[in-house]
Symmetry: C2
Subunit: 306 residues, 2 copies
């Protein structure tokens, strides 16, 4: 496949590197890592084996990439005002657009611009941070899950998932995008925000009994709001929460992406991870008071609020 | 009156200085400020007029103070394991003990040791911070309110309030200690913890619409729990909350005592301001979820938790 990666943070660089290593024709829209990758290529460190790609197609302008079979979107949601313009040059009649961005609302922007039948969404339980320019540190991963924006299980989604698996990316095609998005939020809403707010990695929070209880209660709020949305099947609350907590314990001192954003002085993905989910919860009369409080604390401590 | 001040932080030093200036025989148990006050006395800066006391009775051991008419307790509640031992040498048959400490549970400790009929409690809306050793900066104040631990309006409480007013401390004797404690918590619970957690002064929090909403909701939780306690009359929720917010707006960029404690690396008064109130709310089946969440965030970020 000819693949364009829009938003080459840790996630975009890592998945793009695996796909290129498997023989796909990958083109990266780069910002921070442009000079380094043009000069020395892209290095991935991983417990599954380090590797280096010497020849990497990097660009500073997505018009230079041109039409692709698959546009892989990993842009930070706080940059969504640029999302459509950055993606447009990659889109031709046969193009699929897969957004792996966090939170809710990203597909809607893409669907409004390019038509919902072009769009897939996905979630990735990926522990991955950027290192020096040109280097990505892959720490751990769970499965990627992808689904059609229009719903239902498609041959296209199955084929994409198969291509990803061949490239070393565990991936499952799913029937309900809304459900996988909300399931991801059950993790993202407590851990991203609490780690960003407190400066504590996931293991420190889980080691504090009061914080662990609070995390569990926030997860219960998210599950309750999710299960009032039009999902194909409900999220299995307690079992799913127990699995998320167990999975997180195994991640050690992990710094979620929002904590990394705050530590490096970047904006936070507040609207996609908190604002839109809170609106959708309110729309079904299932308030999430603890989530709203975390949102308020994060908003109050954003630099532009000070 | 012969007065002993136990816990000479900003509050103890300020009230003690006013009482000494008015002619009372005041004796301070000192720690941080001992050397400075022995050498150069005590300085108060205040919009109501600065003043300096040259001869101040300061001690490092409360046995040197001996029996007093009034023991004024301003000890940080996190040091309550020493409260009874520090107070005991001051107590004689005619002694009154007035604790102005924050939160709930302080009177119970004193009553168990010395008998509840000796004990009064009080709250002070006082904006006051310590400066260099030997200096207290008084910024603003509302009324002190005091009441008998055993309940009811006593001649003793009225006389004490009158002495305080003569010394320049606005003070009102009240009938219901439990009510004035809970009313103070309506302010202390949101502002002390949120400012300590975020590092933002009160004006910054109130300027953020999400944070202002969260503060209002936390105040509503505290009022609801308070009004299930055995109060003589309920707290007038919305009107009282509106008054607290208005009063706080007038305080400018105020740093509550818990924020000061955290900035200087001291422990926080978590048990008195959060732990005990949460237990009493739970005991009347009126949970305070936002308050519990703030408690958890503060507990998780305490140094000993890290």
């Amino acid at each position: 496949m000819r693949i364009g990666v829009i938003g080459s943070g840790a996630l975009g660089l890592y998945y793009g590197a695996l796909l290129q290593r498997d023989g796909h024709d990958v083109h990266f829209l780069l910002r921070r890592d442009y000079q380094a990758i043009r000069q020395t290529g892209l290095t991935v460190t991983s417990p599954r084996g380090d590797f280096h790609l010497a020849g990497v197609n990097g660009y500073q302008n997505s018009a230079q990439i041109g039409p692709v079979d698959l546009a892989l979107v990993g842009l930070k949601a706080y940059a969504n005002s640029h999302l459509v313009d950055l993606t447009r040059p990659l889109v031709a009649p046969g193009t699929s657009i897969l957004t792996l961005q966090n939170g809710l609302g990203n597909e809607d922007l893409l669907a409004a611009a390019f038509g919902s039948e072009k769009i897939l969404g996905g979630t990735a339980f990926l522990c991955c941070n950027r290192g020096q320019p040109g280097t990505v540190h892959h720490l751990d991963q769970g499965a990627m899950r992808i689904a059609e924006c229009v719903g239902g299980l498609s041959a296209r989604a199955e084929q994409l998932a198969e291509s990803f698996r061949r490239a070393g990316i565990p991936c499952e095609a799913c029937v309900d995008l809304n459900k996988i998005r909300w399931e991801k939020l059950v993790w993202n809403i407590p851990f991203n925000g609490l780690c960003a707010l407190t400066g504590l990695a996931t293991d420190r929070l889980l080691a504090c009994p009061e914080a662990r209880k609070m995390i569990t209660e926030m997860m219960q709020e998210v599950v309750a709001a999710a299960n009032r949305q039009p999902l194909t099947t409900p999220i299995a609350g307690d079992a799913f929460i127990a699995r998320m907590l167990h999975l997180t314990s195994g991640m050690g001192p992990y710094r979620p992406s929002m904590m990394v954003d705050r530590l490096q002085g970047s904006p936070l993905e507040l609207e996609a991870i908190y604002g839109v989910p809170l609106q959708r919860a309110a729309a079904v009369a299932t308030p999430m008071p603890r989530v709203a409080m975390l949102h308020a604390l994060l908003a109050a401590t954003e630099p532009q609020a000070l």
